[in-house]
């Protein structure tokens, strides 16, 4: 008779996962050598943002939806504006598109930096939070704060305030950044290059767990560009692209009883969005300096290790920096043209209520954690009749659970319970989940 090992029965319950935004639990149970339970529970209260939008004017949607997230506020705002412009058949000027790209780059740098330095680095250095690192790695923390300051400043200059952009609206901007301030941002960006090189050295020495599971990588794809603001939805498994207006033919949301966030599938399977998906799908269009950084970090496409999403974020940081410098140079060379972008936040019409052509529009944007969709239907007065938002973290949940199901048997074969738990926490953290954004499951019928 074979004696059962301790690992024939294992019970891991992480309530709550730390160093992520919001509240989520990791539950893993092995009974008699069989994986009986393996799930990531999202337990945050639903946010009801879609319901809040119904009955409100489409011209205020970007301000409301920017509140979905304090980190991806600009991304939500831009997805909202794009959805509105698609519904109302409005085309922004090339200058406005450049300013939007710049804002999105600022937010991506800001969010990625927080993740790789503040949330992930403690795991890789064997501590529980950044507090111990202030004593042991003070120089690195100072670098992180300095780099953070640059992206914070960008948001203030471009969007009118530190968080929750105010000047980006349907059709353009209510106020343009001054050329003097753009030049200031540019200077800070140039200075950040040095800190970035140190960042590469730091992350080049850190070891992330080995794990391989190929999945469907989904991101926007645009000819000749590493897509963030525009493009079609590209799915690596089919190598096909879909117009964002038809996203519902591709993305299927479904419910799991233990989660207040909806899960998503494509072709009935899990898929992933975010930095690693973009890296795999659009590597060709990365800035050469970002490609060099990827080389130094040993990151090559296609990469099937989800832990390396963090390194893809480090690489994207450099891409966004260099692209931002390019955009500012182009804007300053040509000079900012008020006529090309300046609009009022509400349409100037003699009569109220406002009259628009009724319709439906979808806005898809690559935000730091992946592809974000906003979908609005409006009536002839621009009042939202229906709204749907699909958030990257929700899209990654199914994939995270599939990763957990593959990795748990591999881990328990060779590691202690504590190590298994740590690597599961690191796996979930690698997706950089923004749980509060993702919770919008419950539908409530008020009597």
């Amino acid at each position: 008779m074979t004696k059962k090992s301790k690992k024939d029965n294992l019970n891991i319950e992480v309530k709550y996962l730390t160093r992520v935004e919001g509240h989520g639990n990791i539950i893993v149970k092995i009974k008699n050598g069989q994986l009986s339970d393996c799930r990531f529970e999202v337990i945050e209260s639903p946010r009801f943002f879609e319901s809040m939008l119904v009955g409100r004017s489409i011209y205020e949607a970007q301000h409301l939806t920017s509140r979905i997230c304090g980190i991806c506020a600009c991304g939500h705002s831009l997805a909202s504006i794009k959805a509105a412009e698609a519904a109302l058949s409005i085309k922004p000027s090339p200058q406005t598109v450049m300013l939007r790209e710049l804002l999105l780059h600022a937010e991506t740098m800001d969010s990625h930096l927080l993740h790789f330095y503040i949330l992930v680095a403690p795991d890789l250095l064997g501590v529980k939070s950044i507090f111990p690192l202030i004593k042991t790695h003070r120089k690195v923390i100072d670098i992180a704060l300095r780099m953070k300051k640059m992206s914070d400043y960008m948001s203030e200059i471009l969007a009118g305030r530190h968080v929750h952009p105010i000047s980006y609206v349907i059709g353009g901007l209510t106020k343009l950044p001054s050329e003097k301030n753009l030049a200031k941002i540019r200077k800070l960006m140039i200075e950040s290059r040095k800190d970035y090189e140190t960042t590469i050295e730091v992350f080049g020495t850190l070891k992330l767990p080995e794990f391989q599971r190929a999945t469907q990588y989904v991101s926007l794809k645009q000819p000749g560009k590493y897509a963030y603001l525009n493009g079609n939805i590209y799915v690596s498994s089919t190598e096909k692209s879909t117009d964002p207006q038809d996203y519902l033919t591709l993305v299927n949301e479904f419910i799991r009883a233990y989660s207040t966030a909806k899960f998503s599938s494509i072709r009935d399977n899990s898929y992933t969005v975010g930095a690693l998906a973009r890296f795999n799908n659009n590597f060709k269009f990365l800035h050469p300096e970002a490609k060099k950084a990827a080389g130094k970090l040993g990151l090559k496409p296609p990469c099937h290790n989800p832990y390396l999403n963090t390194l893809a974020q480090v690489v994207e940081w450099r891409h966004c920096l260099e692209e931002s410098i390019n955009i500012i140079d182009r804007l300053l060379d040509k000079g900012l043209d008020e006529k090309a972008s300046l609009v009022t936040s509400w349409p100037v019409q003699e009569k109220r209520p406002v009259r628009v052509n009724p319709g439906r529009g979808v806005g898809a944007v690559e935000v730091p954690r992946g592809t974000l969709y906003h979908d609005y239907t409006v009536d002839k007065h621009g009042i939202i009749k229906r709204a749907n938002c699909i958030i990257p973290t929700g899209q990654n949940l199914f994939n995270l659970e599939d990763d957990m199901k593959k990795i748990v048997p591999e881990l328990v074969a060779e590691k202690s319970k504590e190590q298994v738990q740590l690597e599961l926490e690191m796996l979930a953290r690698a997706y950089d989940p923004c749980i509060s954004c993702s919770t919008h499951l419950l539908e409530v019928n008020f009597a």
Binding site: T18, V20, F48, S129, I130, I134, K148, H162, V163
Partner: protein
Amino acid sequence: MPERYLIAGVGNTLRSDDGVGIKALGYLKERLSLRNFDFLEFATKSIDILNYIKEYAVTFIIDAVDFGAEVGKVKLFALEDINLPVDKNRVSSHSLSLKDLARLSKMLEIKSKVYIIGIQPGNLSYGQELSVEVLESFPDILARIKENKDGLCCKG
């Protein structure tokens, strides 16, 4: 150059009284000299505030704080006076608690004086309006800033 002070509003304006820090900024901007005061809508961001407070001798952070008083009551206290045990694992880049901010500020040796002006909220449910009592606290917030802008209040 005159001494400059930072007033940072914290909170979520879609959660009724939680937005008091942001809403109060408008009132204060009209009553304090822009030559001396900078105003920051900090809303719901977190660790970034460290980069701001270290550039000012004195910072006031205005936020809804539940200290069990009657709705609209205003209380000023110094950041270093927060004396709660810190859960080492719970630091998030997205939501930094005041106690974590206090600890980070101390560990990073930030010398600036930081005051919290806490206003007791009454309603934190979804909504864009403040309770009448919270709205009526604005003059008291202004008075606390004027009284303490030289960083002389409280211990430390």
